[in-house]
């Protein structure tokens, strides 16, 4: 589904990603872990189409298409969804209006009929119920005045509603208490399916107790330096990242 080859990315004069390679198949859950500043969030943002980053080298193929040539909204319509680390508050824009605009933009792109107000409400209320989110969310401005947990839950709710093919979780677990974490994990697990891929970007192993990944990758200084199964996450939790750095250094000398 997704194939990243030799991806180099810079922000201003600072090179952040220095040749990332990653292949993600439909049905897989990949976790990308790494210390602060390793480039995890940058990778997530570049996949979503953030224009503040400059791709200097490499390519990203998504379902056979050149992802880097697509505008953020085109990617979304093709099924790419990133759950934001810091969801943006948008005063004055009602959640219902926003969700309807998003849903209909995607339906239009997929050649489906746009939903009218009634059809939309029926669908959205059903999805709210699934996640146990209160309906009053619809009457509030997008993320405005939401607590950290509410914002993250809203991201998962949007993901559930928009049914993307590629889900990218950008440190969705940061700042969440254990209850909120479980809600987020439940939402993500419900979306696991053979034709959907999920990338979980996280600093801590904690979330991976609830979302069990098929693959774990360690991102260090802009490169994926180690990949493994879910045991790798546990090892990182126990031993930290220093030993991986050591390994990389040793390999470099050899």
């Amino acid at each position: 589904m997704l194939e990243i080859t030799n991806l180099h990315v810079r922000a201003g004069n600072h090179e952040i990603l220095k040749g990332v390679n990653l292949k993600v198949n439909a049905g897989d859950v990949h976790s990308i872990m790494g210390p602060n500043g390793s480039g995890k969030s940058t990778l997530a943002q570049v996949l979503a189409g953030r224009e503040t980053y400059e791709v200097t080298e490499g390519e990203i193929l998504y379902v056979g298409k050149n992802l880097l040539e697509m505008a953020p909204e085109e990617r979304a319509c093709e099924g790419v969804f990133m759950a934001f680390q810091y969801p943006v508050e948008i005063p004055g824009v009602g959640s219902a209006q926003f969700l309807k605009a998003a849903l209909n933009a995607m339906r239009k792109a997929r050649g489906l009929e746009e939903l009218d107000a009634m059809e939309f409400l029926t669908l959205v209320k059903e999805k709210l119920k699934v996640l146990g989110v209160e309906e009053k969310l619809l009457h509030r401005s997008v993320n405005e005045g939401f607590s950290g947990g509410e914002k993250k839950r809203n991201e998962i709710f949007q993901m559930t509603l928009l049914e993307p093919r590629l889900c990218i979780m950008d440190e969705t677990d940061s700042g969440l208490d254990i209850d909120a974490l479980k809600v987020v994990a439940d939402g993500v697990n419900r979306l696991r399916s053979p034709d959907r891929a999920i990338i979980v970007v996280t600093h801590y192993q904690r979330l991976l107790n609830y979302i069990i990944p098929d693959y774990v990758h360690v991102l260090l200084d802009g490169r994926i330096v180690k990949s493994g199964g879910k045991e790798l996450a546990l090892e990182l939790e126990e031993r930290g990242y220093a030993w991986v750095e050591e390994e990389v250094r040793a390999a470099g000398k050899a």
């Binding site: 979503a48 189409g49 953030r50 224009e51 505008a71 953020p72 909204e73 990617r75 979304a76 319509c77 969804f81 990133m82 934001f84 969801p87 943006v88 948008i90 005063p91 004055g92 824009v93 209006q97 926003f98 309807k100 605009a101 998003a102 209909n104 933009a105 995607m106 792109a109 746009e114 401005s141 997008v142 949007q158 928009l162």
Partner: protein, 449 residues
């Protein structure tokens, strides 16, 4: 400006005044002659303000002063209801007065039946035969000794609306006052004068709506005096959507009685040069006012909002919220002056002005000013000036919403914060439509809203 030009411009209005006095003599308005003359004398002394006047620092009136506006009463024009159909607010019944070039147009108006209901009629008629209310209130609140535009309006006041709501009466339907200026061979000036009186414990919604028919250059110099009796509730809407060549100076002067509640809502979309003065005096203890405005300028439009909120009694609350969206080479001004008198203890006054600049050449001047003479008060103010939030645009785009639609949603959301405070639903819906039409990508909103 040279001394000669100043004299010429005053001579122009003095000469008009002489003609005006002659024309209005003997039509039952004679009792107004002393105040008109005094106001004219005052205008002659004051002249138009310049940017050297602190209250006009950001607004250069030279373009207005340079135009020899003709008195509108010298031109006559007949309109049919069809001509003004496009300006009607859908979904509203109730009384409506229509004024064409400052003159009451009975054929276009529906003042409604009287009986125990409110008086809604032309001021020109009322000056002739309904003097009790006028003698008590007219020219009592809008001071002209320090204000050239109020002086000019008072000198030339002749017509406008009189709304009088009797004690205890709740008027359910909004009362609409529509002021139409038409394209004329020579630019004209009108001086609409409105008097709104709510007796004790009454309630009303009033809409003043200024429009241009067939575009054109004209000058509306409006004064609206409002006396809100003890325990009364008023929602006042001011809509400015005249042509982009028009000049509009309006003064809303509100005198609030004990425990009264006023909401003043303003939406400025039209006009070349607009000065919007809102001046509530919280004269009665425990009164409240909400001053809520939205101004949206583009091209070379200039919109100056001048708030003067006077707390003259204890335990009064005032809330000011003004939002500006400025595009093109437009220039916006927000001056928010809060004056707390010595005895106005327990005053609670807040002021917020938020502005969005959509182009590099657009400009905003935002100036709060607090004058506090009491010692037990809460006063806060804040202003923000910013561009479109790129993080928010990315967020919307990442959910599939196209860049131009995302922009429209954000702008509409920003305006929507002001509109949401306008609680009379048919009016708010209408204003939402006008705002969406203003936005360059507003069409995209139709599918979403």
């Amino acid at each position: 400006m040279s001394g000669i030009a100043v004299t010429q411009e005053r001579d122009h209005y003095t000469e008009h005044f002489a003609r005006f006095e002659k024309a209005t003599a003997g039509n039952g308005q004679g009792w107004l002659q002393p105040v008109r003359r005094a106001a004219m004398a005052r205008f002659t002394e004051l002249g138009f303000p310049t940017t050297r006047d602190e209250e006009w620092r950001f607004t250069n009136l030279a373009p207005l002063v340079a135009i020899p506006f003709q008195l509108a009463r010298d031109t006559r024009i007949e309109l049919s209801p069809r001509d003004i159909e496009a300006f009607q607010l859908p979904g509203l019944g109730g009384a409506q007065l229509v004024f064409v070039n400052g003159r009451y147009a009975p054929a276009l108006s529906s003042p409604g039946s009287s009986g125990d209901g409110p008086t809604v009629r032309s001021l020109a008629q009322a000056i002739g035969d309904d003097r009790d209310v006028l003698r008590q209130h007219l020219t009592r609140y809008a001071a002209y000794h320090d204000n050239a535009f109020s002086a000019l309006n008072t000198a030339f006041m002749e017509d406008g609306a009189l709304v009088h709501v009797p004690r205890g009466k709740v008027v359910e339907e909004p009362i609409r006052l529509l002021f139409v200026s038409t394209a004329t061979a020579e630019p004209i000036a009108t001086h609409p004068r409105n008097l709104i009186v709510l007796d004790e414990d009454s309630q009303a919604v009033i809409v003043e709506d200024y429009v241009s028919l067939g575009g054109g250059l004209h000058f509306s110099n409006v004064v609206t005096e409002v006396a809100v009796g003890d325990g009364s509730v008023l929602s006042h809407y001011m809509i400015e959507r005249e042509s982009h060549e028009a000049f509009n100076v309006s003064t809303l002067r509100l005198e609030q009685g004990r425990s009264s509640n006023v909401a003043s809502h303003t939406v400025l979309l039209g006009g070349a040069l607009v000065r919007n003065n809102v001046h509530p005096v919280l004269a009665g203890e425990g009164s409240e006012c909400l001053i809520n405005g939205l101004f949206m300028a583009t091209g070379r439009q200039h919109m100056d909002n001048f708030m003067r909120v006077e707390h003259a009694s204890p335990r009064c609350d005032s809330r000011q919220f003004y939002h500006g969206i400025l595009d093109g080479q437009s220039h916006g001004v927000f001056s928010g002056r809060i004056i707390v008198h010595k005895d106005a203890q327990k005053t609670d006054a807040k002021q917020t002005n938020k502005n969005l600049l959509l182009s590099l050449e657009a400009q905003i001047d935002s100036k709060p000013q607090l004058e506090i003479y009491a010692d037990d008060v809460k006063c806060t103010h804040g202003a923000t000036i910013g561009q479109m939030d790129q993080d928010a645009i990315f967020y919307l785009r990442s959910r599939g919403i196209a860049a131009d639609a995302a922009r429209a949603l954000l702008l509409f959301g920003f305006a929507g914060e002001s509109l949401a405070r306008m609680t009379v639903e048919p009016i708010r819906r209408h204003l939402e439509t006008l705002v969406a039409q203003w936005l360059p990508e507003g069409k995209l909103l139709e599918a979403i809203r």
